[in-house]
């Protein structure tokens, strides 16, 4: 009964995510005013930035779960860390895609290697892509869990570097919206952004829970098969 309890809350969570996503999209695409400088292409900001922040959050969550695995030795943290990093790479690839589309719309280029923040995000993304190569090249067991946990913890050091690079960079390509003086946008734009951020975070959490539930059912079935045969 207790095993099914986490799965039972998923339909409610999915309904809440759908509702919040609908409101967020309406605010971002209809209610929020058009940017005077960038025009309609600025609306990509409402999806690109929340997705990027969620990718950072997922990688950080994966590293936190990896730390818990190393500290407590509980095997369930290995699966949780893996699923969080998997979500991080999904949202990371979406960050790169939406960012490229926005760059093309605003500045006429898909990608530039001269921009540190873009390259650093790509490095972070590729670092976590290599996590899967490491994971699937090792034999299943506690040793694999610990090795992957150490790797995930190394990657987390890249998150503040990538995040701060956007603030420290002096080039033209990547604007800084959140400064020490607060958000550099109007109230309705900021409200739309907050809703989008909440919706994307909730979507990531929902996908994390769904994937985790699927992987646990898979593992339970494998054990059951072994017990029956």
């Amino acid at each position: 009964m207790s095993l099914l309890a986490p799965v039972r809350s998923l339909p409610g969570l999915a309904a809440l995510t759908t509702l919040l996503m609908g409101v967020a999209l309406m605010l971002a695409l209809i209610v929020a005013p058009e940017d005077a400088d960038q025009g309609v292409s600025q609306r990509i900001f409402y999806i690109h930035v929340p997705i990027a922040l969620t990718a950072y959050f997922c990688f950080a969550l994966g590293a936190w779960k990896a730390l818990l695995l190393l500290a407590r030795g509980d095997e369930r943290y290995d699966l949780e860390s893996y699923v969080a990093i998997h979500q991080g790479t999904i949202f990371g690839s979406l960050t790169l895609l939406t960012g490229s589309i926005w760059a093309k719309a605003s500045w006429g280029i898909w990608w530039t290697w001269s921009s540190n923040q873009l390259v650093l995000f790509l490095v972070l993304f590729l670092f976590y892509c290599a996590y899967f190569m490491l994971r699937f090249s090792l034999e299943d067991g506690p040793q694999r869990g610990r090795t992957c946990a150490v790797y995930a913890l190394f990657g987390v050091a890249l998150i503040p570097v990538s995040f701060l690079a956007i603030r420290m960079a002096q080039d033209f390509i990547h604007p800084t919206v959140f400064t020490r003086h607060g958000p550099q946008m109007s109230g309705s734009m900021f409200t739309a952004f907050c809703f989008c951020w909440a919706a994307v975070t909730l979507l990531a959490y929902l996908l994390y829970r769904v994937e985790l539930a699927g992987k646990r059912v898979d593992a339970n079935l494998r054990e059951l098969r072994e017990a029956l045969q």
Binding site: L25, L29, G39, V40, S41, R43, I44, I47, H48, I51, I90, S93, L94, L97, T98, I101, W102, K104, A105, L203, L207, V210, E211, G214, V217, D218, L221, L224, R225, L228, Q229
Partner: protein, 65 residues
């Protein structure tokens, strides 16, 4: 491409990703359902001889008596 089309493309990419994810989860769910059915049949097959043995047991005892 117009600016509006770029916006549509950015939001469309996210939508397609979520849709693909749901499709993958649906495929996985179908596989899990198939595996559960297989395991159920396996458990039933294993239960069948046990039941037959249990049914035969007391009858033999009665026969001997």
């Amino acid at each position: 491409m117009t600016q509006g089309q770029y916006v549509a493309a950015a939001y469309g990419v996210v939508f397609v990703f979520v849709l693909a994810y749901v499709a993958i989860i649906a495929a996985k769910l179908a596989r899990l359902q198939r595996q559960t059915t297989e395991l159920l049949r396996l458990a039933q097959r294993r239960q069948q001889p046990d039941r037959e043995t249990a049914d035969a047991g007391p009858r033999e005892v009665l026969h001997e008596a």
